[in-house]
């Protein structure tokens, strides 16, 4: 179990502060936030690449705040992989083991084992520049995993991957985690990637943790307005506009809007055809409401439609 307590780090007028965050074993945790929110700093604090101004990091109850990175039992995969260009794939993966002066046979055995798991057993004699980006990433993963760390840290691991391969690598990362049972902490700014992967989602904004929880909870029942907006398309408006209350804000997702029947009548200002569904912008009472409808629903821009919002899906936020 990884525990962060009262962790604070300031630089150049920016402060990251984590009051308390507990990360259970064997889980896939995603740190999600817009760029500049402090998510990478948090990862580096866990890794030991940065020292906090205050607070502590515990791994399995052991205070590692003062420990340098190599004593923390963490594996790191860098955004640009950071392979050693002058070493073969084998030597890259073997580096953490060689450094611990393990016997040669033991090193070879463990390198081959992890290389097989990652499907790079045929690349071991090559140099990093001879590999594709995806292969380089697997080498970086192998190097991080070969020492069997308690925690595996992934810094934006999909950002340098070709868009076509991203889904595939995403699935691979998750199944790898399930197979090895390591705790993974994965940093990203992509909410779709975060929801697809995370057992636990930690949304960070402006140096603070906004909310943490399972993706389904954060998507449909968030406590924070920021999280509600950040995790997908959203409608946010004063409750009074729909006659549902006073000044407080209400929020609901476009898919929670029912079009064709209901209490309200609005004018369709815009129709976007998006393949699996259509997105409508309905003007009602001087606000624009986004609604998601089946792609075959015939509706033209300028048409007047009836609509309603599913009551139990409506979230209320203090204004």
């Amino acid at each position: 179990m990884l525990l962060l307590k009262g962790l604070r780090k300031s630089f150049r007028g920016f402060t990251l502060y984590v009051e308390e965050l507990e990360i259970p074993d064997n889980s896939y945790v995603v740190l999600l936030g817009p760029s500049g929110s402090g998510k990478t700093t948090l990862l580096r604090l866990i890794a030991g690449l940065e020292t906090p101004d205050a607070g502590a990091v515990y791994i399995d109850g052991r205070d590692v705040t003062k420990s340098p990175v190599w004593q923390r039992d963490v594996g790191i995969v860098f955004q640009n992989y950071a392979l050693y260009p002058h070493l073969t794939v084998f030597d890259n993966i073997a580096m953490p083991l060689k450094n611990r002066k393990l016997p040669k046979e033991e090193i070879a055995k463990r390198v081959r084992h992890i290389a097989e798991i990652l499907g790079i057993q045929n690349q071991l004699e090559k140099y990093p520049h001879q590999l594709s980006g995806g292969q380089q990433q697997r080498v970086a993963l192998a190097r991080a995993l070969v020492k069997e760390p308690r925690v595996l840290l992934l810094d934006e691991p999909l950002s340098n991957i070709d868009a076509r391969l991203r889904l595939e690598v995403r699935g691979f990362l998750k199944s790898l985690q399930r197979r090895l049972g390591t705790t993974v902490i994965h940093v990203t700014h992509d909410q779709e990637e975060a929801m697809a992967l995370g057992d636990l989602l930690v949304v960070i904004n402006n140096g603070r943790i906004e909310e943490a929880g399972p993706p389904s909870q954060l998507y449909s029942r968030p406590r924070s307005l920021f999280v509600f907006n950040f995790l997908g398309l959203s409608n946010v408006l004063p409750a009074s506009r729909l006659g549902l209350g006073g000044d407080e804000l209400i929020g609901f997702r476009p898919e929670d809007v029912v079009v064709g029947e209901g209490r309200y009548t609005g004018k369709v200002a815009r129709v976007e055809y998006l393949g699996p569904y259509k997105l409508l912008e309905i003007v009602f009472n001087d606000v624009v409401i986004k609604a998601r409808v089946p792609p075959h629903l015939a509706v033209d821009e300028g048409a007047v439609v009836r609509f309603d919002v599913e009551k139990d899906k409506i979230l209320r936020f203090p204004s």
Binding site: A47, L49, P68, V69, W70, V74, G75, I76, F78, Q79, N80, A82, L83, Y84, P85, H86, L87, M95, P96, K98, N99, R100, K101, R143, A144
Partner: protein, 563 residues
């Protein structure tokens, strides 16, 4: 796209360089088959000159040995020293780099003079070296002194190249090494050193070129200890040229050109080298940071090495003239005296003025022509890689190679021993370097600025002058610094193309064109014993480059990559 205006802008520099370098190279080869007779006419001797040099010349063996020694000892020592210094700089902060760079801005003649002055066994610190038994024989008469001076001159470049290599190491790779448990000394040998090995190779080849072509320390040293002791190919060929044996001088120069070309090609190969060195047994090294005090000690020693000759020079320059030749020499002057400066200013003025004229004119001409050519080469890919290679080649080989044919050209134009001889020939020395600096500078230049100017209805020529040039000030400032530095410190060309001091009785004739470098080397003679005057002149010779350096220092930091 090759329109005429691109060519028009680049042509002056390129035409000049081609005619003033390829013609001499070819002419050298032709001349090397001839011998100049006593009557002054040329006689065909076939390969006679070459055979004479390699098999008959009584000095041939010595000269080849010295040349080889200089070309190997200088890079080995310079790079060996530069590596720990660069590491110490990285640990302690790049602000010390500026101080270490100082030797690169001291004119070569002044550097050589300062060292010989300091090592003098009677009037310099050499006295104490011999008294204490550290050195057994006269420190002036050994070829190691030439190496010492070359190392002093080359060290800044070597440190700079290796230090910038260390700074360019990807941060994430260093962090990955940390995550893998590599620290301090072991990390340095397992990761850092292999990754900067291409930079080390570059520094090695560049300093080898310095050692191979070294001239100024031998020119000064020979005056101290007598002929044929320190000679290398460069100096020997100049001696032959000076004594009128053009054919033989050309032969030696052709040999040098061949070796220099090989070294220059090695340099270009090193620049693009990707192969990295791997060291065995790194896992037995201690896995911890070397103590900070060790780095501080390395840096302090480097600074002491850089500053000692300059401080001695400054001390001697303010000693009363009689005290300068006291044995044993006093470590500090008994009183501050500026008589040496008065003497140096009185007799040195014509030389000083001539150096200033030619340096200023040449800097302006060089920077302007170089900018026009480099911009077209980089942005419009004019000339492609062959032209870039040729510029690099010219940059890494010295102007000594061209003196014989250019002397004949200068003679036939009737400008020998005038300012115009120097103005005409100096760009050979400065243009390639300036083009190279600006070529690299323009790699980060936004091409669309020129295209926007064209879209606004300017011609390319007008766009270059109105838009590109004003935006190139920092690049031109740095290119100009080096152009000024080389012009100000030049020795070979003024020695070859002038014979008398600037005639101040008729200043507008601009005839008589010996420069301040020549003045210093003339004063630095054991016969006149004007050591006080020469040290004052030496201090004066450092000032103009320093003024220029301070003026463009902010731009330099971008080029050097120092903080």
């Amino acid at each position: 796209m090759r329109d005429k205006q691109i060519l028009f802008l680049a042509l002056p520099a390129i035409l000049y360089l081609f005619s003033f370098t390829t013609y001499p190279i070819i002419s050298n080869i032709v001349l090397s088959f001839y011998e100049r007779t006593y009557e002054g006419s040329l006689k065909w001797v076939g390969l006679g000159n070459y055979l004479w040099f390699f098999f008959r010349d009584p000095y041939g063996g010595l000269i080849l040995w010295n040349t080889l020694f200089y070309s190997l000892a200088t890079p080995v020592i310079a790079v060996t020293l530069a590596l720990p210094i660069a590491v110490a700089l990285r640990r302690l902060g790049g602000r010390w780099l500026v101080l270490l760079m100082l030797p690169a801005f001291v004119p070569p003649v002044t550097a050589a003079m300062a060292w010989y002055l300091m090592l003098n066994p009677l009037y310099g610190l050499g006295y104490y070296l011999m008294q204490s038994g550290v050195v057994k024989s006269n420190p002036l008469s050994t070829i190691w002194t030439v190496v010492l001076i070359d190392v002093w001159r080359a060290l800044p470049t070597a440190v700079l190249i290796i230090y910038s290599g260390l700074r360019a190491l990807p941060r994430s790779v260093e962090e990955a090494a940390m995550a893998d448990g590599l620290v301090g000394v072991r990390k340095f040998f397992a990761i850092d050193l292999p990754l900067v090995s291409p930079h080390i190779l570059t520094a090695f080849v560049l300093t080898a070129l310095t050692g191979f072509f070294t001239f100024d320390p031998i020119y000064i040293g020979t005056a101290q200890v007598g002929p044929r002791l320190l000679d290398n190919l460069a100096y020997y060929s100049f001696e032959k040229f000076a004594s009128g044996e053009f054919g033989y001088a050309a032969t030696l120069i052709v040999v040098m050109t061949a070796v220099g070309t090989l070294l220059s090609l090695a340099y270009m190969k090193a620049l693009s080298a990707k192969t990295m060195l791997r060291l065995p047994g790194v896992y037995r090294l201690p896995n911890r940071e070397a103590p900070r005090a060790l780095h501080a000690a390395v840096l302090a020693a480097a600074l002491a090495f850089v500053f000692t000759p300059l401080i001695w020079l400054a001390i001697v320059s303010v000693k009363p003239p009689r005290e300068v030749i006291n044995v044993p020499p006093s470590l500090l002057p008994s009183r501050l005296s500026f008589e040496n400066y008065e003497a140096a200013f009185t007799s040195g003025l014509p030389f000083f003025l001539m150096s200033l004229y030619v340096s200023l004119i040449n800097t302006a001409v060089t920077v302007f022509l170089a900018a026009a050519a480099a911009y077209q080469m980089r942005v419009h890919n004019l000339g492609g890689w062959p032209l870039v290679t040729y510029i690099l080649y010219l940059m890494t080989t010295p102007t000594l190679l061209y003196i014989v044919p250019l002397y004949l050209v200068v003679r036939s134009l009737g400008v020998y021993n005038t300012l115009w001889a120097l103005v005409l020939t100096y760009p050979v020395m400065t243009l390639p370097y300036a083009i190279w600096i600006l070529y690299n500078y323009y790699s980060g230049f936004n091409k669309q600025i020129e295209e926007a100017a064209l879209a606004d209805g300017m011609t390319r020529v007008k766009a270059f002058f109105k838009v590109v040039l004003p935006l190139s000030r920092s690049g031109m400032g740095v290119a100009g610094l080096y152009a000024f530095l080389f012009s100000w410190g030049a020795l070979v060309f003024p020695l070859a193309f002038t014979s008398t001091p600037y005639n101040l009785a008729d200043p507008l004739s601009f005839s008589g064109a010996q420069t301040f470098s020549i003045y210093i080397s003339m004063l630095m003679s054991p016969v006149t014993m004007s050591y006080g005057e020469v040290s004052a002149a030496g201090v004066v010779s450092i000032i103009p480059p320093l003024i220029y350096l301070i003026a463009v220092r902010n731009h330099l930091e971008k080029v050097w990559g120092a903080r």
